[in-house]
Each structure stands twice: as C-alpha cells, then as structure tokens.
Symmetry: D2
Subunit: 116 residues, 4 copies
C-alpha cells in the first residue's frame, strides 16, 4: 500500500470520527457520493467543446481540481471501508484492459473502446 | 507528486498512445467516463440495504474493486491532462472541508453535511 | 405521441431557439446534462435513511420536484433530437422487462433485479 | 395529470407489486437507479464526437431509446412515490428557467447557461 494514500485514508477516518459521521458513511452511501461528485466534475465540461476542455482558465482548473479531489476523497473512503487497495486494483485492472484491448485490434478504434 | 501515481499515469499514457486513443481522451470525454464508471460502482449497491453493503461476498468485493479501479484510472488520466496533482488537491480539499465543517457544529449532523 | 409531451417539447425547442442554444444542445451534451441532473436528484437523498427518504418535508419535496423536472426537461429534449417517442419507448421497455423478470422467478428477489 | 403518464405509473405499480419489489423501491433507491440509468444513456455517447451523436445508426438509436425508457420509468416511479406530478413540475421549472435566463442576456452564451 502506498504511504501517501494510507496517510490520507487515516486523515479521512479521523475527520469522520471527530464529526461522528461514521453512521452516514456506509459503503452504499459512499458509492452514491462518488457518483454525485463525479457528476460535479462533468458539470464543468457540460457545455464546452472538446477543444475548450483542453484550455481551462486557471480559476476553472482550480475549481475542477477541487471536484476531482472530492471524487478521490470518497473513492479512498469507500476503498478503505471495503478493504480494497485502490492503486493495486488500478494496476490489476490496467493489465486486464491490456488483454481485453490488444494494440493491433484496438488501434484508433473508438468502437472497440466503446465496449470497455 | 507520489511515485506510484506518477508511474500509473505514465503507464496510462503509454497505453493510450499505443492504441492511438489520445484523440478520444479529451478532458471532456474523460470527465464523462469518470461519471459513467462511478455509476457502475453505485450499481453494485443499488438494491442493497446499508447493512448488506458492509458485507459483500468475496466475489462481489472483487467486482466492486474493478469498478473502483476504473474510476481511479479515469481520474488519474483526467488529472494528468489538466496538470493537476490529485493527492495534493485531495489534501488541500480536506483542509478546506475541515474549516467548512467545524467539529463542534458538524458533529453527528447529516444536515450540515448535506451541504458539503 | 402524447399531446402534453409534444407541447412541452415544442416549448423547449422555442426556449432554446430564442436563446440561440441549439449549438450547445447536441445529443451528446444533452445526455451529459441528463446524467448531471439525475445526480442532483440523488444528492437530496445522499445522507438520508430509506425511512427518511419516504418523509420529505414540503420544502424538500418541492426542491426534489424541481430536480426531477430538470431531468425530465433534458430527457424530452434528447428524445426530441433523436426522434424517439419517450412514452412509447417506456411502454415497450416495460413489456421487455416483464418477459425478463417473470413474476414467479423475480418475486421478492433483489438478486434477480440487480441484473436488470 | 396526464392520462398516459398515470396509466404508465399504474402499470409500474402493478409490476412492482406482482414481484414484491416495493421493499426495494424506496425514494432513495429509485433516485440512485435514475442516476445509474442516466449514466447508461451517456455511455452510448461517451466516445462519439458531437457530430456523430447526431447520426446514430438505427440499431444504436433503438438501444439509446431503451436506456431513455429506463430513465423515464424510474423517474415516473420516483415521482409517484413522492406524489409529484412530473409534467406539472417540468412546466413550472421551464417558467422559472425563462426568468432565470432572459433572452437578451442568455443569447448564445454558454457561460450564462453553465450556471443553470
């Protein structure tokens, strides 16, 4: 397990304990929160063109950064509750994806990708 | 920046390059993917009670782990495109949240929390 | 096609035209908006227990009503763009679901339902 | 209240009763389902350009139609549970939006719209 991640998860645990929020932080509720916060990231890009989405202003980038942070904070809390190592799971999934989308077949094809 | 995170982001960059998927990976599309994958995490908890959500079977836990991994992989790619350090942003957001929800006021109150 | 629905879709078309918002209302963007607004509905229930979700205050019910309205407004616009009759599609899907979940097998089983 | 809508809601009530699914259909769970199904609509547009999203194949359009139907079916069930008339709420919200986005100010401006 990664030390920075473990530290953040410990900080999040203390944060929730101090506020007696453990009662609200069921895996089910954390999964809903993850989804809600992800939608708030998307909201920033809702009416932008793809090109505009590459050129956010500094202020916008900071706002999006905070929303990405919210997603990550809930993801780390959910993984903590379920005793899942998020980085190990991510590395494992990347290997699975590499098998699922062989370079020669997937190259430049969004259709293949769509089925990811 | 965290080394494990940097390594994963480098692997993801190579993964996309090899498949010529950079064209699909605009920040806007990655934000949509983040939201779609977060909903797939939630889907596993859709009909569970809060109590059941604490007691996933090993198989279910592995499946949820893969969905959490998908969310994290898109989050890392989006952060990479926007040049945002996700762990630094998460730490910064946690400090902001601590100010926003002082222990004495937030204690055991979902109402305060709702406005998070 | 239902007359009230057609009227609302005509009103929405005029609303967008008057503001020159047609350029933003691609099916892709409307699908993203649908997802964002659905998450805003969910946000109201995020920290409630199932029991509490049955007993919203009048004020909360009005707020949730507005979010449900936003989802419906985007759904009608998306269906309009794609030339899909939403009520006919819903009726058709309900018939499909009835075949997919025969009463005798699905009765009281959330597991079967999970695969919906 | 619209007759077609009322009929669909009655059919949905009977569908759930026959399968003893009322226990799963808390407003909170229905709100989560709404969000999950909306993400499935978005998934179809995930890697398409805006232009491609205007030109779906017949098969794709039928698939998207089924996902839109799922969103509408959950929306009608949620509105039914909360005793909200969805079309009346949508009409009311459209009037609110017209005040919020006066034609002269909102014209062609996605920025104003972003704050919707």
């Amino acid at each position: 397990m990664n030390r920075d991640i473990e530290q953040l998860q410990a900080d999040l645990r203390r944060f929730a304990e101090e506020r007696d929020w453990g009662q609200f932080h069921t895996p089910k509720n954390l999964a809903a929160s993850l989804s809600i916060e992800a939608a708030e990231v998307l909201e920033h890009f809702q009416w932008l063109t793809d090109a505009q989405s590459h050129q956010l202003s500094d202020e916008k980038r900071r706002e999006v950064g905070h929303e990405i942070a919210d997603v990550l904070l809930y993801l780390l809390q959910l993984a903590d509750k379920l005793n899942i190592d998020p980085l190990a799971a991510a590395r494992e999934k990347l290997v699975i994806n590499a098998t699922k989308y062989p370079v020669e077949q997937a190259k430049g094809t969004s259709r293949k990708y769509t089925e990811l």
